[in-house]
């Protein structure tokens, strides 16, 4: 039995067909506030004033590749120290996370930040599915860029239909590189504007390559799953925390069966 309105049904249908769903973030103030926090922190680290928001698209003019990771980690740590950060992030995709995943959720404890400078090969994620690396197949990723992304500045994903081939024929490939070479022409490069978010199934093969565009990519990613769905190597408590745990579940966890001697 499904009790959903037609818009919700359409969104689910599209998500099931594509394996991903791009949506407009309703409260863009949250996104802007996060960007402002980053800009403030970046100005501190770089010891210089940053005017406007050009810094995000032109980060390569401010930071060299070999300093990028330590810079990224400083920003990542600062953002994730804020106890409200998870909540703010969830709110930006809540409508569709709840629709695709349920409303009693497990959320990754720390939100990942990725920065891809043009021509930088130091932080690539070759073609993969998170499931093959210890994530549960019940997880979805909420991916939000801080700049508009397209082509190699973005990420690629295979459709569920295309994905099936590689799952059934993995033995034919000797290296992950071979899978990418074979899949190269079929990849969907996602075109996402600033102010939009993406939800995708990490069961599907996805990844990125060297950013060949002229501007830098900044993006967040965070995994969500139904709280009581199965876990794999990324465990509840260590990697995930709960969000919106309902009272009935709390009561159930605290329920103690009477003991009869």
């Amino acid at each position: 039995m499904e009790i959903l309105d037609p818009k919700e049904k359409n969104a689910i249908k599209k998500f099931a067909r594509q394996g991903y769903y791009i949506f407009d973030i309703e409260d863009k103030k949250i996104l802007k506030a996060i960007k402002d926090d980053i800009k403030r922190e970046a100005a501190k680290i770089l010891k210089r004033k940053l005017k406007g928001y050009n810094f995000f698209n032109y980060t390569q003019n401010y930071i060299k590749n070999n300093f990028l990771n330590s810079f990224r980690l400083k920003i990542y740590n600062k953002l994730n120290k804020d106890k409200k950060f998870l909540e703010k992030y969830y709110k930006m995709g809540r409508k569709y996370i709840d629709l695709f995943c349920g409303n009693e959720l497990a959320i990754q404890k720390k939100i990942n930040l990725s920065i891809q400078l043009p021509e930088d090969s130091s932080s690539l994620l070759p073609i993969h599915t998170d499931v093959w690396s210890g994530n549960s197949p019940f997880e979805l990723v909420l991916w939000i860029p801080l700049v508009s992304v397209k082509k190699t500045k973005s990420m690629f994903i295979l459709s569920p239909k295309q994905n099936k081939y590689y799952f059934q024929n993995l033995n034919k490939f000797k290296t992950a590189e071979n899978i990418y070479t074979h899949a190269n022409r079929k990849l969907n490069w996602l075109n996402i504007r600033y102010g939009q978010g993406l939800i995708f199934s990490q069961n599907l093969l996805h990844g990125n390559v060297v950013n060949k565009e002229k501007t830098s990519r900044w993006s967040f990613n965070c995994r969500f799953k139904s709280l009581f769905s199965p876990y794999d190597l990324k465990k509840y408590g260590e990697y995930f925390t709960s969000i919106n745990m309902r009272q009935a579940s709390i009561m159930g966890i605290n329920y103690d069966e009477p003991k009869i001697k």
């Binding site: 300093f67 093959w132 000797k174 992950a176």
Partner: protein, 132 residues
């Protein structure tokens, strides 16, 4: 413009999603050991590659050692025990030499440099079979 005033060479981490010699080691811990090893040996570290969890998969490892145009000069694997079931172990040195790569085992703090080291691995694996 900021940059690191270091002349360190880039190394790629390599971690597992499977049991390593009968133990499940959280990936976070594997990465910590690799990072610590890299820091102590003055190596720059790239984001780790994670081996797939499917039994007998070495697709990521093979990608690393076969890659022709690497942006790294060495691979730091969490533990030598990750190579216990690697079917092409005897050929690792050939591949490394061909692609001008070095390979280090962070937990055991060793480098696998030549065929003698490969033979040592065999000895280590055999002796460690004798568990209580």
């Amino acid at each position: 413009m900021m940059s690191l005033k270091l002349n360190k060479l880039w190394h790629m981490g390599y971690i597992s999603s499977r049991e390593i010699d009968g133990n499940i080691i959280p990936q976070k811990v594997q990465n910590l050991v690799i990072r610590d090893y890299a820091q102590r040996n003055n190596m720059n570290l790239l984001l780790s590659s994670t081996e797939y969890k499917m039994k007998n998969s070495f697709l990521m490892f093979d990608s690393l050692i076969n890659k022709k145009n690497q942006n790294f000069v060495g691979i730091i694997i969490y533990s030598l025990f990750m190579l216990k079931d690697y079917p092409n172990r005897e050929k690792i040195i050939i591949e490394l030499k061909k692609n001008k790569l070095r390979i280090f085992c962070a937990l055991e703090e060793i480098e696998i440099k030549n065929d003698t080291d490969i033979l040592s691995l065999k000895k280590i694996f055999f002796i460690n079979l004798n568990k209580k």
